[in-house]
Symmetry: C2
Subunit: 343 residues, 2 copies
Amino acid sequence: MTLPACRSFLDQHPQAELILVGKAEALAPAAGWARCRLVEASEVVEMDDPVEIALRKKRDSSMRVAIQQVKRNAEGVSEADACVSAGNTGALMAVARYLLKTLEGIDRPAIASVMPNQHGHYTTMLDLGANVDCSAEHLLQFAVMGSALVSAVDGKEQPTVGLLNIGEEVIKGSETIKRAGELLRAASLAGHLNFHGNVEGNDIFKGTTDLVVCDGFVGNVALKTAEGLAGMITSFLKQEFTRTPLTKLVAMLAMPTLKRFSRRLDHRRFNGAALLGLRGLVFKSHGSADALAFENALNRAYDAARNRLLDRVHDRILETLQALPGAGQSAAQPEAPAARHAA
Amino acid sequence: MTLPACRSFLDQHPQAELILVGKAEALAPAAGWARCRLVEASEVVEMDDPVEIALRKKRDSSMRVAIQQVKRNAEGVSEADACVSAGNTGALMAVARYLLKTLEGIDRPAIASVMPNQHGHYTTMLDLGANVDCSAEHLLQFAVMGSALVSAVDGKEQPTVGLLNIGEEVIKGSETIKRAGELLRAASLAGHLNFHGNVEGNDIFKGTTDLVVCDGFVGNVALKTAEGLAGMITSFLKQEFTRTPLTKLVAMLAMPTLKRFSRRLDHRRFNGAALLGLRGLVFKSHGSADALAFENALNRAYDAARNRLLDRVHDRILETLQALPGAGQSAAQPEAPAARHAA
């Protein structure tokens, strides 16, 4: 699936160059492609490899060598502007964090992706599973990184930010969420964020805000719940339209309409999650992506690189931390790990 | 909406009796109904009333008087076997907890409801929003209460239990979730639960387990996310089928199929959440329920009362706590409040 997606991507973007990393036999079909360099790696991180194996044993894995391509040298120059992988998410995050390190002011990288919304556009959401426990300061960092992502990829300079909660009122939620709300409001008043306030699960699909911020546990549950429900609804619709010869006939007549409908929900169009907060751009494609889905992940990475996502995240984080010294004091919060960004 | 639902409920259940509680003018149309007693209350808790108002000011509210009907006296006798309200959830939980108190062995009551699943059946889930922060011990209590609910209402003696997590492996999730997994496994080994293991958001709709256990924050986000996505999908389907005169014609032909489809997802069929862990049965209907939805909430409460849900929860909790002394030691866990059920 990867090679046809790469071929189509190169055809669509005459300015783009690709570096393909993998085992020699996997790369062979791409030999001789213009604007495409092949880099061999002798190993592959498997989907069920523990993080430790990916980090310590497989030192010549395609994943590791690919991430190495985006590592900047002392002069700030790297071989590639972004890396895209459809591999093991946990391993990808761990290897990327180990090799690239986090940006100044960021305690933990987060995974951001998009979901379709009622406006026919999409809602960006993070974190989707990299961090199970988050402090209020982490949620603020996610909001800043996510805003940079939306502004880079969608061109909205001041995307609206919602804090995922179980009610709209400021008194709702856990202590961490309430404190995150305070930090986000302060950042918004200082002009560094466009904070809308609390949002609920249904607001993701209403498109109430451009960005929805939450911890990785809640985000992952919301994402998987949505995938599960979409799958069930699709299968119910199929069952009803294939129930009898008559319904099958009606289904044939309704086919163009049903196809338009299912295209609007097609998760392949939303493939390509950003690993934000690292000193390099890394994008994660769904492991079961087909060529169309993988090409979308390549497009998202390409757009992010062209629009200088890395510099934007870097600049926004520094700006926010300088304006809000409290936001960097996570070392003073018992729930947060020692901060590496003491102002 | 309430009165037509009550009228239909009485007609459907010749053994049932209703006590209607409310303002005199609201009750007037039910005057003279057989098997129906009217109890006046001078006040009403509004949807936006703070919990404090419901608890301290409106002492003659219909909500409070209705809950009072299920409070047992010293001989263990109460006026009503269950209470159903479509009012303010926070106020209902607070007033019910204040008047009825929690069952022995239960630290916090939880809200349980059902979602449709791919098997054409439904998955029971709790907590859906009563508790934002939960300890491992609370999650075990939810599992035990939820199992009692499923066995009472569905007649499954050993319902399977899933712990909502962000991966199936036991090493996934926060410390609280991992410890909850250990408690659930121990309770399962001792024969007090049928613990399947970790489940993910998509498993709710796959119907992997009969019961899904989670904290109230995660449960509420999952529920609202599902509601939001279902709403968006329905509106996309409508938009596509009303796009042109031709698609409208096809929609007319497809109407019986589309109706069967939407009936399978009809949230009214799943209305009626149980407030579990109290010394009395209280059910919550959705605030915007129509007559059909409210009648379903009445049916759920009636089934629970007939099947002795209260005694079942009580017995199961005691049984589990005796077998697993660790499960009652939440006072030893820093994240849990002082336990009232020290063995």
